[in-house]
C-alpha cells in the first residue's frame, strides 16, 4: 500500500538538509513501529520518496512524502502515532492512502505530479533594503511595478553556460496580503468538496508555521515547480533586487513553502497534492 504523508518543517529543522530529512523519517517510522515496506537484498531499505526537496534554510507547511506500507491502521491513528515520535520542527498534518494504479497505468511518483508551488517570502528583521523602500507601502509599490512588466528576464546560469530567460510566465500569482492571496488562489483552484477526511485519508488543520517578522514586508507568490518548468523564489527576489539597485542578500529573506499543486491532464485548474490520491 502506498501512502502520502503531508508534513510541516519549521524552526531549527530548517537547517536539516533534504538527505538528512530522508534519514530522519526512516528512523522515525521505525521508532513509531510503522509497518514499512522494504526493498529486498542485503541492504534492505524503506520505500520512500519526497515530492519536492526543500532547500536548506527554507520552512514549509506542505511537504509531501510517499511511503510504502505493508499494513496500516486508520489514518487518524497513524498520524498520531507518527507525530508522537517527531522532533520539534516536524509535524505530520496529513495521511492519505493512495489508489493502486490500474493494470495499464504506471505508478506516478509524487515528484512527477508537482507543477507549481506557493511561497511566502518575508524580509527578515534587521536587514535594510535601502532607505526609500523600507516600509510596506513603498515596497509593495516597487515590487508591483517590477511584477507588472511584460517580461522579466534573468541570466540563468548552468554549469557550462548562462542564458537569458523570461521568468514572467512562470510566476502565476503575486500578492502582499494573506486574504488577497487566498482570494486570488481560489480562482486558480479546482473546486473540490470541503470535507477531506474519510476512511482513507485524514488531515489536521494546522496553523501555518511561517515565521513572522516585525517589518511585515512579505510577498506571496505562486511559481512553476517541477520537471517541466521550475522557478525558485530566490531567483525572483534576486531579479527584483537587481532591477531596483538593491544589493541582493540571500540571508535577508525567509522563504516558506505554503503548498504544492498538481493539475489534472488537460485542465488548467490546480489541485493541492493532498487532494490528489494517485
Amino acid at each position: 500500500m502506498r501512502v502520502r504523508l503531508k508534513f510541516q518543517k519549521y524552526g531549527p529543522m530548517k537547517f536539516i538538509g533534504h538527505l538528512d530529512v530522508l534519514r530522519y523519517f526512516q528512523k522515525a517510522f521505525r521508532r513509531a513501529g510503522i509497518d514499512s515496506e522494504y526493498t529486498t537484498g542485503f541492504n534492505p531499505h524503506q520505500i520512500i520518496s519526497f515530492a519536492a526537496p526543500l532547500g536548506l534554510g527554507l520552512t514549509s507547511d506542505s511537504e509531501y512524502v510517499d511511503i510504502g506500507l505493508n499494513s496500516s491502521e486508520a489514518p487518524e491513528i497513524m498520524i498520531n502515532k507518527i507525530n508522537e515520535f517527531m522532533s520539534e520542527g516536524f509535524y505530520v498534518t496529513g495521511f492519505q492512502m493512495l489508489e493502486e494504479p490500474a493494470d495499464n497505468e504506471k505508478k506516478v511518483s509524487a515528484m512527477s505530479l508537482v507543477s507549481s508551488a506557493d511561497y511566502l517570502v518575508s524580509l527578515k528583521d534587521g536587514y535594510c533594503l535601502g532607505l526609500d523602500i523600507n516600509n510596506i507601502e513603498k515596497f509593495n509599490e516597487v515590487f508591483s511595478r517590477f511584477y507588472d512588466r511584460t517580461e522579466i528576464t534573468i541570466n540563468k546560469k548552468t554549469k557550462k553556460s548562462s542564458m537569458l530567460v523570461n521568468i514572467k510566465p512562470m510566476i502565476r500569482l503575486v500578492s502582499f496580503d494573506e486574504s488577497d492571496y487566498k482570494n486570488k488562489l481560489k480562482e486558480l483552484l479546482l473546486d473540490l468538496p470541503t470535507d477531506k477526511n474519510n476512511q482513507s485519508s485524514y488531515f489536521i488543520d494546522a496553523e501555518s508555521k511561517a515565521e513572522i517578522y516585525d517589518n511585515n514586508i512579505k510577498i506571496y507568490m505562486q511559481l512553476a515547480t517541477g520537471s517541466v518548468a521550475n522557478l525558485k523564489p530566490e531567483l525572483v527576489i534576486e531579479a527584483f533586487c537587481n532591477d531596483n539597485n538593491i544589493e541582493y542578500n540571500p540571508y535577508a529573506w525567509q522563504v516558506h513553502r505554503l503548498e504544492l499543486y498538481t493539475h489534472k491532464d488537460s485542465m488548467d485548474k490546480l489541485i493541492p497534492l493532498s487532494r490528489f490520491n494517485k
Binding site: 529543522m13 521505525r30 537484498g41 536548506l56 534554510g57 520542527g89 527578515k124
Partner: protein, 644 residues
C-alpha cells in the same frame, strides 16, 4: 520554540549547520532554572566524530539521571565557524540550551587521542574560559579531563582543574554532591579542588609539583598539599555485567561515523598485546550479562530507529556467549531490516557463517590484523598468532567467497629488523597465493589485498613504555623498503600499500609520553594556528616544530631515547592496577620473544586483581587459540591513510 545561539545568517553560511542546533532525538530537555548543577560534556573534535563516542552517551545518561543536574554537550566548532565566532565575539555554547559554556558549573572534556590537545584549547578559548587553570576565577566552570589520555595527563595538566582517572560510572555522584555542599557552604574553588583530591581517582594537578634532573628526566613528584594522595587510583566499574547502559542514545540528524546502535558487550581484553594501552588500562576484563544485552539491544533499536547494530569490545571473540548473542540479533532483528555489523572476530566456522548471513560477501572485505610481518616479531608484541593460522583463515575466507582482504601492520616495533619489515610483503604475497590455489571457477576475479602500516607509538602503561621510538627517517626508510619488496613480488598488482604519516605519529609519541613542560609547547602551537591536528589536511608540522624550538624542547628526548628501568615517568603517580614491575617483566619477555598466556589461560599477576572483579575471579578455563582477527568494514574511518 528552542532559540538558537547562532543567527540564521551564520548557520546558513557554514558547513553542516545541524552540528550546532541540538534538538536531536533523545536529547534530554530540562529547565536550567530547575537544577543546581549545570554540566557541559565535551568531545574536542568535530560533531560527527564526537557524537559517535559511546563514553559520552553513557555519562550523559548517568548525569542526567540526577534531578539536580542538567548535562549538556559541546563539540569543537569546525574551522569555518571557529573564524566567525572569533570575528563576532560569540561565546561557545552548549547544544541543548544554547547557553554559553562559561555559565556552566562544570566543563568535562574527554581525552580520546593526543592529537586533540589543541582542540581543547580552542574549546576553552571560544568559551571565554581562561586557558590556564591557574588563571580561572570563582565564576569559571571547573574543567575536568577524563578518558584514555588521562593515563598520562601531564602534558595538558596546566589546562585542567582536575582529572578523573578511570571509568566514569563510579564517582560522579561524589564529585557533584561535594560541589553542591561546597557551593551551599560558600567554599572557594581552591577549597573544593582540595576536597576533590580526597575522592579516590581524582587528580588535581595544582596540588603537585615536579622536580627535574639535569638530564631533563624527572627527579621527584612532590605534593604541595599534604592531604593529596601519593598515588591516584584508577576507578573501575566492578559490577559491569548489569551496569547501567543508556538505552535511549542520542540520534543525530546528520550522518556521523557511528550511525548505528552500539552495544558494549565487555570491557577490557584478556590478550595482553604489549603495544596496546587499552588492553592494559581497562583490566580486568569484565563481561556484560547476555540477557541484559538482549534487552538493551531491543530497547535501543526501538528508541533510536537505527537500522544497524554493532557490538563494541576490544576483542569480541573472547566474549563467552558471543554465538548466542549474535544469533539472537540475527534471528530477532535481521528480518526487520536491521543490519548486524560485526566487530573484530577470530576467523572460524562460526564467524564465517555469521558474516555470510549478515553481509554481501562479494562486496565486503575482510580485515586481518597480524600487526607484525614475522613470527618472531609477533611474539615480541605478544600477538600470539602464527603464520599457519593466518593462511588457514585467509584460505577459509577465500573458499567462502571473499576476495578482498585488508591487512593491518605496525612498523617501528621494538627490535624490528629489515627482515621483519620484508616479512609484511611476504605474508601479503603468501595470502595472495592462497587465493590462487582455489579452482578458477570458484574465484571472483583477481584478489585484492590492501596492506596498511601505522607507525608504532609507545604508550604509557604498556610494556613498551620504556622503549625508543623510531625516528620519522627510520620509519620512512622501512616504508620504502617495504614498498620495494612488495613491487618485486609476483602478485604486486593485487597488493595495495597504504601508510600513515610519520610526522603526525612522531608528535603523538611526544605527547603520549610527555611531561608538564609540554603544556607551553601545546599552547604556543595552538596560538600559532594549530588546530584539528588529527586531520592530516589541517596538521601543521612546521608550526609544531617551531613551538618546540621556541621552548628549547627536543622531540627526540621524549621519543628517541631508551628509558632507564628505574626512570620516574610523568604518569607514575597513577595506580592503574597493572604494576610497573609487571610491565617491566613483560618488556623483558618481549625482548626475548617470549609469549605470555592470556588472562583466561593463566594469571601472571599483573596487579589488576586488586579490583576484585572480572576475569581475575572467574574460572580460568582454557581459551581457544588466538587466531586471526576479522573485522566488518567501515567501522571507524577517522584515520587518514596515504596510498602508495
Amino acid at each position: 520554540m528552542r532559540k538558537l545561539a547562532l543567527s540564521d545568517e551564520i548557520l546558513l553560511s557554514i558547513e553542516k549547520p545541524a552540528r550546532y542546533i541540538g534538538g536531536e532525538v533523545n536529547m534530554r530537555v530540562k529547565n536550567p532554572m530547575d537544577v543546581d548543577i549545570r554540566f557541559c560534556m565535551c568531545f574536542p573534535d568535530v560533531y560527527e566524530i564526537g557524537m559517535s563516542h559511546l563514553g559520552i552517551q553513557i555519562l550523559y545518561d548517568i548525569l542526567n539521571r540526577r534531578e539536580d543536574t542538567y548535562c549538556e554537550r559541546v563539540y569543537s566548532p569546525w574551522i569555518d565557524l571557529d573564524k566567525l565566532m572569533r570575528d563576532k565575539d560569540i561565546p561557545l555554547f552548549a547544544l541543548e540550551s544554547q547557553d554559553p559554556v562559561k555559565e556552566f558549573d562544570f566543563l568535562g572534556i574527554t581525552l580520546q587521542y593526543e592529537m586533540c590537545y589543541t582542540n581543547i584549547l580552542q574549546i576553552l578559548e571560544l568559551s571565554q574560559i581562561p586557558i590556564y587553570a591557574r588563571d580561572r576565577s570563582e565564576d569559571d566552570p571547573i574543567v575536568i579531563g577524563g578518558g584514555p589520555c588521562s593515563y598520562n595527563p601531564e602534558p595538558i595538566a596546566d589546562f585542567f582543574d582536575f582529572f578523573y582517572i578511570g571509568e566514569g560510572e563510579t564517582s560522579y555522584d561524589k564529585i557533584l554532591d561535594l560541589y553542591k555542599e561546597c557551593k551551599q557552604s560558600g567554599k572557594s574553588r581552591r577549597e573544593y579542588l582540595e576536597m576533590v583530591s580526597q575522592i579516590e581517582g581524582m587528580y588535581v594537578p595544582a596540588l603537585y609539583d615536579v622536580e627535574y634532573n639535569e638530564d631533563d628526566t624527572i627527579k621527584a613528584f612532590i605534593k604541595k598539599y599534604e592531604k593529596a594522595p601519593d598515588k591516584v587510583k584508577k576507578q573501575v566499574e566492578v559490577n559491569l555485567s548489569e551496569a547501567y547502559y543508556p538505552t535511549k542514545p542520542l540520534v543525530p540528524f546528520i550522518k556521523t561515523t557511528q550511525d548505528r546502535v552500539v552495544l558494549e558487550i565487555q570491557r577490557g581484553c584478556i590478550r595482553g598485546c604489549r603495544f596496546c594501552q587499552a588492553g592494559m588500562v581497562y583490566r580486568p576484563t569484565r563481561e556484560r550479562d547476555l540477557e541484559y544485552l538482549k534487552k538493551c539491544a531491543y530497547e535501543m533499536l526501538n528508541s533510536t530507529g537505527h537500522e544497524e547494530i554493532s557490538l563494541s569490545s576490544l576483542s569480541s571473540s573472547d566474549y563467552s556467549q558471543l554465538q548466542e548473542l549474535v544469533y539472537f540479533l540475527i534471528d530477532e532483528f535481521g528480518s526487520k531490516g536491521v543490519n548486524i555489523s560485526l566487530p573484530s572476530l577470530r576467523i572460524d566456522a562460526f564467524s564465517l557463517d555469521v558474516m555470510a548471513k549478515v553481509q554481501d560477501v562479494r562486496k565486503s572485505s575482510l580485515t586481518f590484523a597480524p600487526e607484525a610481518g614475522s613470527q618472531r616479531l609477533r611474539n615480541v608484541i605478544n600477538k600470539g598468532l602464527t603464520e599457519e593460522m593466518i593462511l588457514k583463515g585467509a584460505s577459509d575466507a577465500f573458499s567462502s567467497g571473499w576476495s578482498r582482504v585488508k591487512l593491518y601492520f605496525m612498523m617501528g616495533l621494538p627490535t624490528e629488523t629489515y627482515e621483519d619489515v620484508e616479512g609484511i610483503a611476504v605474508l601479503a604475497e603468501d595470502i595472495a597465493r592462497e587465493y590462487y590455489k582455489l579452482p578458477k571457477e570458484q574465484r571472483q576475479g583477481r584478489v585484492s589485498i590492501v596492506v596498511s602500516t601505522a607507525f608504532f607509538v609507545p604508550k604509557p602503561f604498556t610494556p613498551f613504555q620504556w622503549t625508543r621510538m623510531d625516528t620519522p627517517e627510520e620509519y620512512i626508510q622501512k616504508q620504502q623498503l617495504l614498498r620495494k619488496k612488495i613491487n618485486e613480488q609476483l602478485n604486486k598488482k593485487s597488493i595495495k600499500f597504504n601508510w600513515h604519516e610519520a610526522e603526525l605519529s612522531e608528535l603523538e609519541g611526544v605527547l603520549a609520553r610527555g611531561d608538564r613542560r609540554l603544556s607551553k609547547v601545546i599552547y604556543d602551537a595552538y596560538k600559532a594556528g594549530c588546530l584539528y591536528d588529527s586531520w592530516s589536511e589541517h596538521f601543521k608540522y612546521d608550526k609544531w616544530v617551531k613551538a618546540f624550538e621556541d621552548n628549547a624542547i627536543s622531540m627526540s628526548f621524549y621519543n628517541s631515547r631508551e628509558r632507564a628501568e628505574d626512570e620516574i615517568f610523568p604518569w607514575d603517580f597513577i595506580d592503574a592496577g597493572v604494576s610497573k614491575a609487571f610491565l617491566l617483566k613483560e618488556y623483558k619477555r618481549a625482548k626475548n620473544s617470549s609469549i605470555t598466556p592470556n588472562c583466561k589461560q593463566l594469571c601472571y599477576n599483573c596487579g589488576a586483581k586488586v579490583f576484585a572483579c572480572g576475569v581475575c575471579f572467574n574460572n580460568q578455563e582454557q581459551a581457544g587459540d588466538q587466531t586471526l582477527l576479522i573485522d566488518n568494514p567501515g567501522q571507524d574511518l577517522t584515520e587518514v591513510e596515504h596510498e602508495g
